[in-house]
Amino acid sequence: MKNKQPPDPIREKKSLKISRRHFSQAGGAFTLAFLLGDRNINLTPAQAKTQKIPLQLLNPHQAALIDLLGDSIAPGAKAAGLSHYIDHQLSSTAPDNLLILKYLRVNPPFEGFYSSALMAFDKAINQRFAKNPAELTSDQMAEFITIMMTENPEGWSSAPPAPFFYFVLRSDAIDVTYGTMAAFDSLDIPYMAHIEPDHEWADRS
């Protein structure tokens, strides 16, 4: 029986061939309910960023650091609304939280994880380059990321290990950049949803 080929009945894939864009043509977007004044409106994180929806927990500096590092790791993450996505999730209750951090043996609340890591990131960049993170060249940022993915850069303290934070923020950035129906479409991957993610961009107040 060695080297036995799968039997014919399982070679029926031809009938299941799917036109790649077929399933995502009518697709919506990954939206979240953002608080605007006293109303909740459903927006994609990218729309929330464009519309400058106020952040709930992150301060503007923290949001800027998240976007800067996230976009350096996964280009497109800033425009996809990474900082608004993380801010939104940090203010969610544990059962509704979608952050990948919940898989990684960190118990909620998660705000301290991000705030301490961002502070360490800011400090370590300053120590290494005598610059603010936003002033780094792309080569300098790449140099720093290469270090932080394997060890704590000099000056990184009072925070989760840098490689762990890199992994988490990288995963967050991939989530918002590549985890949506629109992103699948751009990758030419059929989304094939049974039930689409919340796709109405509607005022639900």
Partner: protein, 520 residues
Amino acid sequence: MRNHAEKVDIVIVGSGAAGSLIAAEMSEAGKKVLILEAGPERGLNDLTSSQMDARRLKWSGVPVVEKGPQPIGNVFNSGYGTGGSALHHFGVWPRLHVEDFKVRSQHGRALDWPITYGELRPYYDKIQQEVGISGDAASEIWRPEGADYPLPPVPVFQQGDIIAAGFNKLGKSIAPLPLALNSRDYKGRPACLWDGWCDAGCPTKALANPLAHYLPKAKEQGGKIIHNATVTSILTNNNGNKATGVKYHAKDGTEITQLADLVVLAAFAIQNPRLLLASGEDGLANHSGLVGSYIMSHAAATVFGLFEPETEPYMGATGGQLLNQDSYDHKNKRKLGFGSYQWMIAQAVKPNDLLGYGGSNPALFGAKLTEFMQHAAQHFGGMTACVEDLPERSNRVTLSSERDKYGVPLATVNHSSHADSYALWQGAKEEGIEIFKAAEATTTWNGPLGPMHIMGGTIMGEDGEKSVTNSYGKCHDIDNLFIAGPGLFPTSGGVNPTFTVHALALRSAQYMVRNWSSLT
């Protein structure tokens, strides 16, 4: 505020695979059944096709403190809400092998099960006929004796064909992966669309999760379920030798005493021992001192590659398309380590999430990540070995000094892979790379050790001094207190546990029905 609820015949803690099956069987037998589920109610319409939304299905209850060099990954591997972890399981349903039940007898190490494969086989056969498994028994040259699958095998897509060529070139065997997913319409449930959204929960009922079969069956027979019901202790009589019910907190915080003639703990491998340990001075049903011990978690050995031809990596089931168990039997014959493992080949993959291809190579960032994400979308391939974890007494659930809002200590779980299990994982990784190279992958790489499934902690056995329950899950110390689920496993084998969980639960339920008078 405290309340006493109306007494029931049987109260089941947890609505996952084991709890829902026992509820269905006992309801059918005419018993008044109540399931208490700690998480929220979920229906099929809540199962949104998104890897981010999928995270809502994972454990969000009381935090678990994880320790040791190979933590068990409680959140990812557990469930929360209707259907428990089985709601997001991938439906890979191979059987344990004959040797898995007698590791100590045959090899002088690890533990024996108190039953043989032959004793469990009829229950495997009955379950697969009831819920449907797609596969080709004849192609599974490693499979122990059993009835043929009721459904033809699942389709193989490009990724499967490409990786299969590597196995063939090296003289290794492959077979269709046995999946509890319908390859055809079956008993009113539709065929799968091969869209790879299993982790987000299958709303079509093509995958045999609890919402597809056993929970509806339980409800049809009068079984009840209460959600957001957090059980805090198991109640006993004054002598401590008979369970009288459980105490739980409802969603509004009200403490409720639920009396029952028989109590089943089906709250998975971590919360079951936590509840037992927290329910008595030295733990309930803990005469052996083994409640919490022998926690196991399969080590996932992942192999990834990029291939020149297009692979359609988004097509198929999340669990995979093909199976190889060449390294399963004769646990002492591995190149490295000791034990069994199987390959689950050509898993459907999404761009994001822990199991997504974007996370497979964390070293990539910037423009290289962008390039990879675009190329891999059509050219990625992957497979995972489910690697046996030998039972170690020191791998255990204990009570933490931290407590939840109801004053119950949290569970602390220590887990460190046995040296031979770790070596087995190393060997599987190496073999995987060899296979991918033979399949002409242009690039190959491995992922880190990932914990997959949680087993043990309330192991079954013949000897009350060396185990917590008998082979039916009945606690040695308390006749009307049962444990159900993978926590009963004395050894992990190297296959996915859910089919075996079902078979054991069915055997337990039939035992309860047969012996109801003497048990209660």
